[in-house]
């Protein structure tokens, strides 16, 4: 999966230390075009830190990070915006790049908040703001999308629709996505590669591989493992040595 020119960002044994305490260490992962990599792990396991390392926000890191694109869309987990700024949704959409009006309208329509275009950013609800954040990140048609808990505060039906949208964007734009989520249920259907963090990489691989992993089971419990297993497609046939299909 990692032919060199489709690689967007690559972490080699990367780590970050703050006040002599490792937030995360020894992370190696690669995000390539058209694939979704999901980071899971308990609170404080270094998911957001890993995302920030990949984005180049932290400067003094251990290991190395190779970034092959500058077309990046980022949805941070926490964002504090100072309301001394008069800022409408429309102004916010233009924050880091000058985007055509049609592209703005399209992105806001996709995330279901086009009616808020001229509203002041400070008057939005948490879920509405989250949808605007996603719209802003996708409207610039990035090659790399980093989504840190992108659907927090969004209502349940909206959550499913937004995850479907994220999957669709990864397919249509052929962009690589680094996704952080607590919601194992919804995420796993779309993910190509899972990295399970707990201060370091516990295990990684396809959702199925991770679900079978014993470290993962101790970290999340047997039940979480079963959630993942749901997404394994059941084979109703096996292949013979000659490649013929044999029904079970």
């Amino acid at each position: 999966m990692s032919s060199e020119n489709s690689t967007l960002v690559k972490l080699n044994n990367a780590g970050f230390k703050q006040n002599d305490k490792w937030l995360v260490e020894g992370v190696s992962l690669t995000v390539v075009k058209g694939k979704i990599v999901t980071l899971i792990g308990p609170n404080g396991s270094g998911k957001s830190t890993t995302a920030k390392i990949a984005l180049g926000i932290y400067k003094n890191i251990e290991g190395s990070v190779e970034k092959y694109t500058n077309k990046v869309g980022y949805v941070p987990q926490k964002i504090s915006i100072d309301w001394t700024l008069p800022l409408r949704v429309y102004d916010f959409m233009l924050l880091t790049e000058n985007i055509k009006d049609e592209a703005i309208d399209e992105a806001l329509t996709l995330t279901g908040v086009i009616h808020l275009k001229n509203k002041n950013l400070g008057n939005l609800s948490g879920g509405e703001f989250q949808r605007v954040l996603i719209a802003r990140a996708i409207s610039k048609k990035p090659e790399l999308l980093v989504l840190d808990e992108p659907v927090q505060g969004v209502d349940y039906t909206g959550e499913i629709a937004l995850y479907e949208l994220i999957k669709r964007i990864s397919d249509t734009l052929n962009c690589g996505i680094l996704l952080i989520s607590h919601d194992l249920h919804t995420v796993m259907t779309a993910t190509d590669h899972v990295v399970c963090l707990n201060g370091h990489v516990c295990c990684s691989g396809s959702p199925m591989d991770v679900a079978k992993n014993n470290e993962y089971k101790t970290l999340f419990g047997e039940q979480a493992s079963q959630i993942l297993s749901v997404y394994e497609h059941k084979h109703d046939h096996v292949h013979s040595d000659e490649g013929e299909i044999k029904k079970n």
Partner: protein
């Protein structure tokens, strides 16, 4: 036409207001009022240096203010003191050192009041040239760094993550602050320059719902303050700086009525 001191003052003020309008918005947004004050206070040191070394005042003030800004950044990295304490330390010590040095320079007659509060009589054709060319340069650079500076003002990490290099924009903006203080010190005086940056921008915030509108209203507010202030300064024989700032205060108070109206409309 520039033979008349009042016309010179008017054009100097207009040039300054065109620059302080947009820069002042960033001072309000980024909470840099006290940073502006510190740079302005250190300007006195710049003025004394100009007199002792026979330099141009604007250039000398610009150099000293830039150095003070650099020292501040170093102190922030090296000490555990909070930002406002460091700002106070630099502001008052540079003001004090400036005044002490003036005491030693007995061979030069200083118009301290003019330095502190501005003097319209002091504006020369050379000053006009410095204000307009310097001002045009400041606005040009601000236009170039607008995107990264504004994006990092809204959210630093977004700007950094999406490749806008906010640290460079911040450093350049610091230099622009030193430059705007350097060109406006004669007109407004070093105690009141920050007022020229903040009050029109604060007035504009009350009546704007987008960043672009706030910048435009801030410029208009600054221009009106200069014209009203200078005419009343002529009329009542008051210092130019305080008159301009007082005029901007009147505009700010008027803008408060606009807020009340819009709140009533919402209910």
């Amino acid at each position: 036409m520039f033979d008349d001191f009042f016309i010179r003052a008017l054009f100097a003020g207009i040039g300054i207001a065109l620059v302080t309008g947009p820069l002042g918005c960033f001072v309000v947004w980024r909470r840099l009022s006290y940073f502006g004050d510190t740079l302005a206070h250190s300007a006195l040191l710049g003025v004394t240096m100009a007199y002792t070394l026979d330099l141009n005042i604007a250039i000398s003030v610009f150099l000293i203010s830039s150095v003070i800004a650099l020292i501040l950044i170093q102190l922030q990295k090296k000490t555990n003191l909070p930002g406002d304490a460091l700002l106070g330390l630099l502001a008052h010590s540079s003001l004090a050192v400036g005044l002490v040095v003036i005491g030693f320079l007995t061979f030069i007659r200083f118009d301290i009041m003019g330095l502190l509060f501005g003097d319209i009589l002091a504006v020369t054709i050379d000053d006009l040239l410095i204000i307009w060319t310097g001002g045009a340069l400041i606005l040009l650079v601000l236009k170039l760094i607008w995107k990264p500076l504004f994006a990092s003002t809204v959210n630093y990490e977004l700007a950094e993550a999406e490749g806008l290099n906010p640290d460079r924009a911040k450093a350049i903006f610091t230099i622009l602050m030193a430059a705007v203080i350097a060109i406006s010190i004669k007109m407004v005086g070093l105690l009141l320059i920050t007022g020229m940056l903040i009050i029109p921008a604060a007035m504009a915030r009350n009546i704007s719902d987008s960043p672009q509108k706030m910048v435009i209203f801030s410029i208009i507010g600054g221009l009106l303050s200069v014209v009203l202030g200078l005419y009343s300064s002529l009329e009542f024989n008051t210092s130019s700086g305080p008159s301009i700032i007082a005029a901007s205060l009147v505009l700010f108070i008027l803008s408060l009525f606009k807020i009340k109206q819009s709140i009533k409309l919402k209910n």
